[in-house]
């Protein structure tokens, strides 16, 4: 980066370490002071290519090659209109063709190949896809807002954490000073042996240190997935009462039309002697949870269901 130089005033990074190169849409670099000078009025033309430029569009050159900057600008501009998503295409092939087209346009514009024709192509595309472009723009806008929100929250968190750590360090320093003063006071005014006093102080300091061993852990307020812990919310609002609907009440399902006479109920089976004609369950079967009432009921149900069946 040392051989960076402003093409107009020939200032280099070596001579002026605070040199900042700026670029505009045309891709030609200028140093900050030249920009200040040339674009005093807010607009002017590029000294290299005479393209009319606006001062507000200047930004710091991030890449060594100004062509990259130019490409980024063009890309930004083109993608504003070519904002279709993969879901907007029927096949992957179509989507890939579309991406290819974008790249061609960008390449043409950056390298000044058929600029007029390419611009015409963009205009045509814009006209053809007006609605879709608007729709996608709105969508992207929304997504961006969300992203910004997340970034903002993260920044706040970081700040809080840093403040906390600074505070704790301060505290620790103060504590140390206080201890030292106490020691000197003791040495000055106490009657006992200086060595004893030193020893006791050394011990207390050591024990204090042990307590301090845990470094101030930055408070984590989010799960790794980015979902916030709810504790913060709980601190602010005492209790979230959950809206409960009416309690669930069991309702027996409707009995379908049996298409036959009603079979006896389980109670009737037990009281009216049906069970006398069924093989009673053995002890082992009973232990397994089998009882003869249900099979008996089922046989009777099956016998009676469908008796009224008529074609």
């Amino acid at each position: 980066m040392d051989d960076q130089a402003c093409p107009r005033c020939k200032t280099t990074k070596y001579r002026n370490p605070s040199l900042k190169l700026m670029v505009n849409v045309c891709g030609h670099a200028l140093c900050e002071s030249c920009v200040d000078l040339l674009f005093l009025k807010g607009s002017g033309s590029c000294p290299d290519c005479n393209v009319p430029l606006r001062r507000s569009n200047f930004r710091v050159q991030l890449f060594e090659d100004p062509m990259v900057e130019k490409e980024i600008d063009i890309r930004k501009r083109v993608l504003k209109d070519y904002n279709k998503k993969e879901e907007d295409f029927a096949t992957l092939r179509e989507y890939n063709d579309y991406l290819e087209e974008i790249e061609t346009i960008i390449y043409n514009l950056t390298n000044n190949i058929d600029v007029v024709g390419t611009n015409k192509r963009i205009e045509q595309y814009k006209k053809d896809n007006k609605e879709l472009i608007m729709k996608n723009k709105a969508k992207i806008g929304r997504e961006e807002i969300e992203l910004e929100e997340i970034l903002e929250i993260e920044k706040q968190m970081e700040e809080l954490r840093r403040a906390e750590i600074a505070r704790m360090e301060q505290e620790a320093k103060k504590q140390k000073i206080r201890e030292k003063e106490a020691l000197i006071d003791e040495l000055m005014f106490a009657e006992g042996d200086a060595k004893d006093i030193l020893n006791t102080f050394a011990q207390t300091v050591a024990s204090n240190k042990q307590e301090e061993v845990l470094p101030p852990v930055p408070k984590i307020t989010q799960f790794s997935t980015g979902v916030k812990f709810t504790t913060r919310g709980l601190e602010q609002t005492p209790m979230v009462t959950i809206e409960e609907g009416p309690l669930y009440r069991y309702e027996a399902p409707p009995v379908p039309d049996r298409c036959g006479p009603d079979p006896p109920s389980l109670h009737e089976i037990m009281t009216q002697g049906y069970l006398r004609h069924v093989k009673a369950e053995t002890e082992t079967e009973k232990a397994g949870g089998y009882s003869s009432q249900l099979p008996c009921l089922r046989a009777l149900q099956d016998a009676l269901a469908g008796l009224y069946h008529a074609s």
Partner: protein
């Protein structure tokens, strides 16, 4: 419960004519599909007629009964009943010229074993089949999915066996009939024959069961009419009783009409079938083997055009008509 079952909704038909129509329709469909280049008269001689198909299937129903009776380990009655249902249902929507009944028969029994939770492995199962067992198990397993598809996956069958038990319990509890257990012989005999008729495609299992009980009672010179009219249909009303009486009468007459088809005729039909059956579904035919091979190859080469299949179809026909 039968009243809410797929059996009632899709597989219980209005009357015998409906069954006859369905069978004729699929017979005709097969002939139209495979006999385009045979003239009318020849066609009649070459393919099976609906009546011949009916006779052939009757014969195979007898085979099915025998097969199940001899099956080792002995098979519960429910499996037999379910197998009969499957067999009948399958040939309502398929022609026996398309799928040979002897193959479908074994598949029906095998599937019924599974559905009725009568656990036999395929090895155990084909041990009951004479001849090439490996081939038999291949055929059964190949046809199993086809069968289920043709049954529309309506695999739950309501057999009349449990209703019979219900009636016997009810009679023992509510009637004064002396020793109802003696009816069992007659009932079993009746139910065995019922499955050789189309009754199970026309009536509810409880109606068939009641017909069996009433038939057995009359054979024992007992009269259960009062049980039916005063106990079962006390609250029902005369119209429902009339329907039931008609149904019972019809079932009993159907059972009475059961007769095994004449050997000689069946032999002729079988010979005819060997010539006119769809060779694509005949595991012994070259076409079938070729198709299987191709199906295997297709797994390796996913981009075989479906045209292949079409040309295969017609070549199969020409081969059939040449023979």
């Amino acid at each position: 419960m039968f009243s809410t079952s797929s059996q009632r909704k899709f597989w219980t038909f209005g009357d015998e004519n409906e069954l006859v129509c369905l069978r004729e329709k699929h017979n005709l469909q097969f002939i139209l599909k495979h006999g385009v280049h045979i003239d009318e008269y020849q066609r009649y001689n070459f393919f099976l007629t609906p009546d011949e198909e009916r006779l052939l299937l009757k014969q195979y129903e007898l085979h099915l009964k025998e097969f199940c009776k001899r099956f080792n380990p002995p098979m519960p009655k429910g499996v037999v009943g379910t197998a009969f249902h499957y067999f009948k249902r399958f040939y309502l929507y398929n022609s026996s010229m398309d799928y040979h009944p002897k193959e479908i028969l074994a598949t029906c029994v095998y599937l019924a074993c599974k559905v009725e939770e009568f656990n036999v492995s395929i090895g155990q199962f084909v041990a009951n089949i004479k001849g090439d067992r490996e081939k038999a198990s291949d055929i059964i397993l190949n046809n199993e999915l086809l069968l289920m598809q043709q049954l529309n996956y309506h695999l739950t069958i309501h057999n009349p066996f449990r209703p019979v038990e219900g009636f016997l319990i009810d009679i023992k509890t509510r009637c004064t009939l002396a020793n109802p257990e003696r009816l069992r012989g007659g009932i079993d005999e009746f139910l065995e024959k019922v499955f050789l008729t189309d009754a199970c495609l026309l009536y509810a299992p409880s109606q068939i069961a009641l017909a069996a009980v009433l038939h057995a009672a009359s054979k024992e010179q007992e009269n259960l009419d009062s049980y039916v009219t005063e106990m079962l249909f006390r609250d029902a009303g005369p119209d429902k009783l009339a329907i039931l009486i008609e149904a019972v009468r019809k079932i009993r007459s159907m059972v009475k009409m059961v007769e095994s088809p004449a050997r000689e005729r069946v032999r002729i039909i079988e010979k005819k079938l060997d010539r006119c059956r769809n060779q694509e579904n005949n595991p012994d035919s070259e076409i079938y083997k070729r198709r299987m091979r191709e199906a295997l190859d297709e797994d390796d080469l996913p981009y075989t055009s479906s045209n292949n299949r079409m040309s295969l179809d017609t070549s199969g026909i020409s081969q059939v008509s040449n023979s």
